[in-house]
Amino acid sequence: MLKLTATVSLAALSVGFLIEAAQAQGQGPIKVGFMTVRSGALAAGGRQMEEGLQLCIDQRNGMMGGRKVEVVTADTAGQPALTKTKAQELVERDKVDVLIGPLAAFEALAIDDYIRQAKIPIISPSAAAEDLTQRKPNPWFVRAVGTSAQAHHPLAEYVAKELGYKKIAIIADDFAFGHEIAAGFQRVFEENGGKVVQKLWPPLNTADYGSYVTQLDPDVDAVFAAFAGGNGIKFLGQYKNYGSTKPVIGAMTTVDEGVLKSMGSEAVGVISSGWYSAAIQTPANTKFVEAIRAKYKADPGYYTVGAYMACEFLASAVDQLKGKVDDKDALIKALREVKISESPYGAVKIDELGQPLMDITIRKVEQKNGRLQNVVLKTYPAVSQFWTWKPEAFLKSAVYGRGNPEPIAR
């Protein structure tokens, strides 16, 4: 027994030396700490993130910049306190070179201070909270998705100018993501001559939307519904169930591909916007959608493409650094200067606060090839998180919230 233990520890020691030696030559794996959600209410989004990340890594045969990539996955359960513990574990115990995650905005906010203190580059595949790249920018943070309102500024212009709607009622989840989407939509809609006549804020865990659907003002031109997770399914189902006929304008996540596959006729005709749609007809996206469909039998959506692109950002930066990721300052600099010419999103360029400019598509849900799809109606190219305002003016206004958005002078 003693002999066995001795042999094992010797073996372990030598393996340890080997790994250290390899790392010294820059040949060890690049370690990516991936924070996802595998349990609780957000688990579906977490699974989709894992699928997107896995596809990106598989397509590169597990290599970036000539080095192997090793993903260390942590389940945050969608709980901010646990997210912080997991981030610490990944950085201090697993010694990861970079973090991808977490899923939810409140999780990202929970580790904000830790990231600044640990000086570890982090790529957000999902969390959209505006101020992370606006009034309280974290120098170690780069986002591979849009901000909450980034896709909904152009949507509001489209609704006012091209659909000609004048009066709109807003119903949105009562948390930061819902507030920011609704306020961004309202600011641009009212700047274009429309009027938001009603705003309803159902709690995130509203069991039954019946009492909200029946409160909606019957004299509006359309209802703007901003929901996340499964709430879009519940709301649209009840909206139709009560015999409501006014058109529904949706936020990106209301009819995201991740939930659209579970919807039925209630979703048909919903116009929404996003920095992504599985129905974008470009060679890069067709290839991406086919790969995800072949492997996971479902269209990619918000979470899938977010994690895939976070991984693409990383790969692009690591390639540029030729695999030398030990210099964290150089890594975050490279991450923030990523330029990708072809991707499922289209071309990607990042602004100085770590937020990509994005091609925003206006989409309409249609039944096509036996499934519901977000068919693209129009594309607004290279939309900034500040829409068409000057960044300085935008940053001077208060962050979007439940109250009226402050108008910004032109």
Partner: protein, 286 residues
């Protein structure tokens, strides 16, 4: 005027759903002195089983039966194999039911993935009834009818049957019931099964309104707790009245006082707990 009518109907429908959920919870609580924290998970499991039955091609009514049967059997097993061993230790029992709730929730996640799923309306119940300028979904009125029928059936069971007499005796005074020769062990299993059957069937019936998703369990459990605390544990009438009160507060409250949407259900509970700790119709439990 329309506002009051339609929100009243909404409250009635939601209260009916709550009654189907809370009736079993109240019976178990009253008889066994156990707040079965797995009740929300039973409700969700029933909904998922119903959905699986629908996916397999069964019709809606068979799906309701399937949800009720599977959850009922599970409830019986849990009572026999787990709760039984902890009899006389209510705190341990409550903790165990919480653990079972977690196991069921993770099991559902594993079996049915985390994707939220809508449950289709049974054929013939799509669409709305129109009364003048008020439109109201047919299915919700149907749920109200189910709840009323269930209330009558449970009332007959409790008040007019031998089993009911034994259950009432057990709720009133367990030791005396035992001394009179009532086999409380069998009674516990029966009531736990019955409560589980109601939760399972309720989950499927609620599906077309609430849809099914991870987290449905923890959304519904507090509502059942509020209803039972308000109405009084072990009282069927209490559960019925409590459900309706909560249903009305839910729909009128969210419309009239939107800023209080989070707390509005818990205010009456605090009030009742302060003024009448055993609930509106509950008796002080021994």
């Amino acid at each position: 005027m329309n506002f009051w009518i339609i929100q009243g109907l909404n409250g009635l429908a939601f209260g009916s759903l709550l009654f189907i959920l809370a009736a079993g919870f109240s019976l178990i609580f009253g008889l066994m002195r156990v707040a079965n924290l797995a009740h929300g998970a039973y409700f969700m499991l029933g909904a998922y089983v119903g959905l699986a039955a629908l996916d397999a091609g069964l019709n809606f009514w068979l799906a309701v039966l399937a949800g009720a049967a599977v959850v009922g059997v599970l409830g019986g097993i849990v009572e026999r194999l787990v709760l039984r061993r902890l009899s006389g230790k209510p705190l341990a029992q409550v903790l165990v039911t919480l653990g079972i709730a977690f196991i069921i929730a993770d099991g559902c996640l594993w079996l049915w993935s985390g994707d939220p799923r809508p449950v289709p309306m049974p054929p013939g119940f799509e669409g709305v009834y129109r009364f003048g300028s008020v439109a109201f979904p047919k299915y919700r009125l149907f749920v109200v009818a189910v709840a009323v029928a269930l209330a009558v059936a449970l009332w007959l069971l409790l008040e007019r049957s031998r089993l009911g007499a034994m259950i009432r005796a057990g709720v009133d005074d367990m030791d005396m019931a035992r001394a009179m020769g009532i086999r409380t062990s069998l009674l516990f299993t029966t009531v736990f099964c019955l409560g589980s059957v109601l939760a399972g069937a309720g989950g499927v019936l609620a599906g077309p309104i609430l849809s099914v998703y991870p987290g449905l369990d923890s959304d519904m459990l507090p509502l059942a707790l509020v209803v039972v605390i308000l109405g009084g544990a072990g009282s069927l009438t209490g559960a019925f009245i409590g459900s309706l009160i909560i249903g009305f507060i839910y729909s009128y409250g969210q419309a009239l006082l939107p800023d209080l949407a989070y707390v509005i259900l818990f205010l009456p509970m605090v009030l009742v707990l302060t003024l009448r700790p055993s609930g509106l119709l509950g008796r002080r439990l021994a």
